[in-house]
Structure formats: C-alpha cells, structure tokens
Amino acid sequence: MIEVKSVTKVFGSTKAVDGVTFTAPVGAVTGFLGPNGAGKTTTLRMLLGLSRPDEGQALIDGHKYDELDSPRRSVGAVLDSMGYHPGRSGIDHLRIVAKAAGIQRQRVGEVLEIVELTSAADRPVGGYSQGMRQRLALATALLGDPPVLVLDEPSNGLDPAGMAWLRDLIRGWAKQGRTVLFSSHILNEVEMVADHLVIINRGKVVRETEMSELAGADGKIAAGRLEELFFELTSPNAQVRS
C-alpha cells in the first residue's frame, strides 16, 4: 500500500505540491491524474526518495523509500527522468541494476521476455526507439519482482499496440495482488485500467474516488464522464474542494 500524507514541496516561491494526501490500495490500480505541471511527477519523486518533502511523508508499505531494506524488491518505478548510457546495451543496463540490487542474473532474461525486448537486448540503447526505452524502463522496474509499482506516464512513446499491451500488464499486476500507482494525463487510458482515482490540480488533490462511483445507474461509466469531471475540477476557475 502507498500512503501519501500531507506532502508539501516548495520550489523557490512556488508550492509545487501543497498538502497532498491520498492512498493507493493493495491489489488495485490507482490512476494519478492531473494537467501538466499539477505536481504529479514531484509527488512521485518524493515517494521514491529522489526528492525530499518540505512537509509530510510518503510511505510504501509503512516505510519511507530510503528506509526500505531492499528497494528494488519492494518497489518498481518508471520515471520520465530516467536515462540510459547510449553506448551500453539494454542487457548490460539490466545486469548493472540487478548486480547493485543483489538480484539473480537469470532474472534479467525473464524481464526481457516479459517486456518483449529479448531480440534487441544486446544492442546499444542509443539506437532504441522511444517505445523500446520505455519497455526497458518497465523491465528495470520488474527486476526485483516488487509488490508495488509506481509508473510516471508509462505509456509515453508507446504505439497503440504497445499501450494495449501495457494496459494488460497493469491489470495483470493488480490481479496478482500488487499495488499499482500510475500517473497520466490521458483520460482514456486511466478510464480503462484504474480502479481508484486521484485527481490533482495546482499541487492539491481535488478528488479521490473509486472509479465505480463515477458509474451511472446501469453500472457503467458514461462516455465522457471522466473528461467532464476532470475539466470541472481542473479548469482555471475550478473551486478547490477538500
């Protein structure tokens, strides 16, 4: 389970994240939704120990990230800020992470199979497409077979087939009982995979809800319902409700 408790981050005179509180439950996919610059990435970076909150704390199964015994076995993460050495092969990148995290070498081959990157594994990452890099990032996140996955805009660079494939993966992880938190600004995508929804705007959580609560009397979410709610909550003159 992921618990974000009153987390605040100030950059200069801007409150990028302002008292954000939400929970991502076990065995469910939590969609973390918000316009560009709403504070999604900053929140996730604080959760992952890459950035320090000025106030509040973000916990993964009750622990701060830097207090986890074996972070890679506890949390898998995909972030936009991840890069690769262009001259290094995909497989070497995975071997380095596996080595540093004390993960068995054979797991590298397994995650390459999962993300369907085995045939390109020996090539330098510099020649990878955006989609292949994203698959490599997912493979890295899966190395430790973690119970918690944190994905920042994971579908970036994926083609429609890749996006469908990723949706199946994400749903599958939640079915296996993992906690999945993923950020996106693509409403469709969130609507298709999320069970739980957190909407953030200008650094504040403006709605936390179960997807099922958006459904009408027929039990289905009407077309455009999420979009309507999103614009209602994130338009420049939206009222912040807490």
Binding site: S51, D66, P71, G83, I96, A100, T140
Partner: protein
C-alpha cells in the same frame, strides 16, 4: 556494498570512454618517456645517474590527468546520461553511492597507473639499450618514482570522482580541474612557490620526484592529496543530503 562496487565496475567496463582514456593514458606516458629521454641525452645527461633516472621517469604521471577525467565521468556522468535516477532508486543512501564511486575510481587509477608504469619501464629499457645505457632495474630510486606515479594516478582518480559527485556537471568539473592544474596553479606559483607546493599539480610532481622543482617529500604529498580527496568527498556527502536527485 560489495554488490554496489561490482555494479560500479560493470558500469566502468561497459563504457567505451574507459578504454579510450586508458589508451590515451598509456600512449601519453610512452610519448612522454621518449621525449624525456631525447631531451636528457641531448643535454648530455648521464641517463644512468640519479638525476637522469628522475628526468626520464618523472613524466610517468603525465597520464594522471586522464584518470582524473575518468573519475569525474564515473560520478558526474550519471547526471549527464541521466542514469542517476536508476542508481538512487537502487541505492537510496547516497553516501554509499558516492563512496563506492570513489573506491572504484581509486582502484581504476591503480590499474591505469600500473599499466603506465609498466609502459614507461618498457619504453625506457628499450631506449636506454638503444643509446648504449643499461636501465637500472635494480635502482630503488626508479621503483620509488614508478610507485609514486601509481599512487598519483590512484589519488587523481579519487579526486575526480569526489569532484564529480560534488559538482554533478561533468564539463564544469573537468574544465574546472584543467583550469586549476594548468593555469591557476601556475599563477599561484608566480606569487609563491612555497604555497604552490601544497597544491595538486605540484603534489603529483612530488610523488614522481620531478627533478626540476622544489617539492614536498613523497609521503607528505600523498597525505595532502588524500586530505583534499576526503574533504571534497565529505562536502559532496553533506551537500547531497539536502539535494534532490
């Protein structure tokens, strides 16, 4: 920590820059020794004399600058290639990352230094016999200088890694060091030779017993360089506690 060190070695081995810098170090050393022997024999210096040996072998540390660059790349390269995020996700305790990089850069320096020393000896041995001299393989002086050059390379690797962790910007760290070693130290030398003896380029020359300078003893020079490395590293560790990745 053992896993972390192994991972850092793997990073080093899978980077072409490492091998390019190693080649540059060895070629520079070989050429420097050839040049030193030509200059020494042109000036009618007895190559077998103590001064002759020091003149020829002190240039073995010329490749040290490449080890310094390697050290900077080991640390700051993670920000340039944006691999730092993955590194810190695996090892959130940043002092461990900084320390392991320093250790890897230091040992890379030992390897680079040892290969340079071997090259210097082979080249000197060959040219000595070509000029009718015998290279004094049994001379303690020669070994002291070669040992000093290995130590200089190791310590320059450490300085590079520590600076790379502190500065994070690879180009700034490398340019900063070049400016310091080749320009600022020379300016300071103009003002005060007594002060300049305590600065890195002069300390490196002390370690290889440069015959043309008024230098500190080898042991003192090594200790002072170690202190510089530790101070820069501790500053990096303390700064990192308050920095975002």
């Amino acid at each position: 920590m053992r896993d972390l060190l192994a991972a850092e070695y793997l990073k080093l081995r899978t980077t072409k820059t490492t091998w390019a810098l190693l080649a540059a170090t060895i070629v520079t050393t070989a050429l420097a020794v050839v040049g030193a022997i030509i200059v020494a024999s042109n000036s009618k210096l007895n190559l077998e004399s103590l001064r002759g040996i020091r003149t020829v072998l002190h240039v073995t540390a010329s490749g040290g600058i490449f080890v310094l660059v390697l050290g900077v790349i080991i640390s700051a390269g993670e920000y340039r290639q944006r691999t730092a995020t993955d590194t810190f996700l695996t090892t959130p305790k940043r002092w461990k990352v900084i320390t392991s990089k320093l250790m890897v850069a230091t040992s890379a320096g030992v390897v680079f230094g040892a290969l340079s020393a071997g090259t210097a000896m082979a080249v000197a041995n060959h040219l000595y016999s070509a000029k009718g001299y015998t290279f004094p393989l049994g001379s303690a002086q020669a070994w002291t200088i070669l040992g000093g050059s290995v130590l200089a390379a190791a310590l320059f690797g450490a300085l590079g890694a520590a600076t790379g962790s502190l500065v994070r910007n690879q180009i700034s760290a490398i340019v900063g060091w070049m400016a310091f070693l080749f320009v600022i130290e020379n300016i300071i030398l103009g003002f005060s030779a007594t002060l300049e003896r305590w600065l890195p380029a002069a300390l490196s020359r002390s370690l290889v017993r440069d015959p043309n300078a008024d230098l500190l003893p080898q042991g003192t020079a090594a200790i002072v360089l170690v202190i510089y490395g530790v101070v820069i590293m501790l500053t990096a560790v303390l700064t990192e506690r308050r920095r975002d990745a």
